[in-house]
């Protein structure tokens, strides 16, 4: 999986497609493959009871399991539902672009995604960085931010910072609010400073947590960097 990439890719897409996409459904699409499943993949404790998938990787990326959320067809089906309910073409298109960006980005890890589900349950992967959800959130974070994964995220951090104009107040008013009436509606209840903070929140979250996880892994802790293909070698990576 990717970490900060899913926060930052939508802003890069926004930069290029401008008013043809709306940032909110773009971000929702980008988060959608994992939003309902990630807690169960890593497991959680509620009032002393443990909840979690017996086989985290199978549940996350496989079938039977919730791996269909990482397929291209899932994005199309949800986008059609959005269009059927809202009749808002830009929302539907934005959602599918966001969801596809997530599904394609996650082909970078050693597990890969069922891109062509339901036609096949084949997992497609370029195996660039270790997929390690089975060791829990922190073990997974340590592996991701020590291997090629952090470089992949770093590319999007750098590209996001180079695209800083999409974060300006003028861009927000001239492009973002024009593409999506939700911002005008929200502006009846919230001041401009709050709207801008909400618009920039995923960018802020992506850049800061990429930085913080790197510091956690390599300054607070002492995990070894290994950016060899499929690395880090010290992490138990799962593959197709």
């Amino acid at each position: 999986m990717s970490w900060a990439t899913h926060d930052l890719e939508p802003y890069a897409i926004q930069r290029h497609l401008k008013g043809k996409v709306a940032i909110i459904p773009l971000l929702i699409g980008s988060y959608s493959p994992d939003v309902a499943t990630k807690w169960f993949v890593y497991g959680t404790n509620i009032f002393g009871l443990e909840f979690g998938a017996e086989d985290a990787a199978q549940f996350h990326r496989g079938w039977p399991g919730a791996g269909f959320t990482h397929s291209l067809a899932f994005g199309v089906v949800v986008a059609l539902l959005i269009f059927a309910v809202s009749r808002h073409r830009v929302w539907a298109v934005s959602f599918v672009i966001g969801q596809w960006s997530h599904a394609l980005s996650d082909t970078g890890d050693t597990m890969g995604t069922m891109l062509l589900f339901p036609f096949t349950t084949q997992l497609y992967s370029v195996e660039a960085w270790a997929y390690a959800v089975q060791v829990g959130r922190f073990g997974d974070a340590a592996a991701y931010f020590s291997g090629p994964g952090f470089v992949w995220d770093g590319f999007w951090v750098a590209y996001g910072l180079l695209s800083w104009r999409v974060l300006t107040r003028s861009y927000f008013h001239e492009v973002i609010t024009q593409a999506d009436p939700v911002w005008g509606w929200a502006g009846r209840f919230l001041p401009e400073a709050a709207l801008l903070a909400l618009y920039r929140a995923s960018f802020f979250y992506g850049v800061t947590r990429w930085t913080a996880w790197l510091l956690w892994a390599h300054v607070v802790n002492d995990y070894a960097f290994d950016i060899s293909w499929g690395g880090p070698d010290w992490s138990p990576a799962l593959s197709r």
Binding site: A194, R200, T208
Partner: protein
């Protein structure tokens, strides 16, 4: 200080605090809602509260 520069300063300060918190207490990095809530607090609610107190 212009409002744009003040705004940039608030975002940078919020980022520095969030990164420091996250590096030592990484659980705060796991929730988008908490991250967005922290940003709203830092760049909107607290400055608005400070302005209100200064006007009184």
């Amino acid at each position: 200080m212009t409002s744009d520069r003040l705004s940039l300063f608030l975002y940078l300060a919020a980022g520095a605090v969030y990164v420091t918190l996250g590096a030592f207490f990484p659980r705060v990095l796991l929730s988008w809602v908490e991250g967005a809530g922290f940003l709203l607090l830092a760049v909107w609610l607290l400055p608005a509260l400070a302005r209100w107190l200064l006007r009184r």
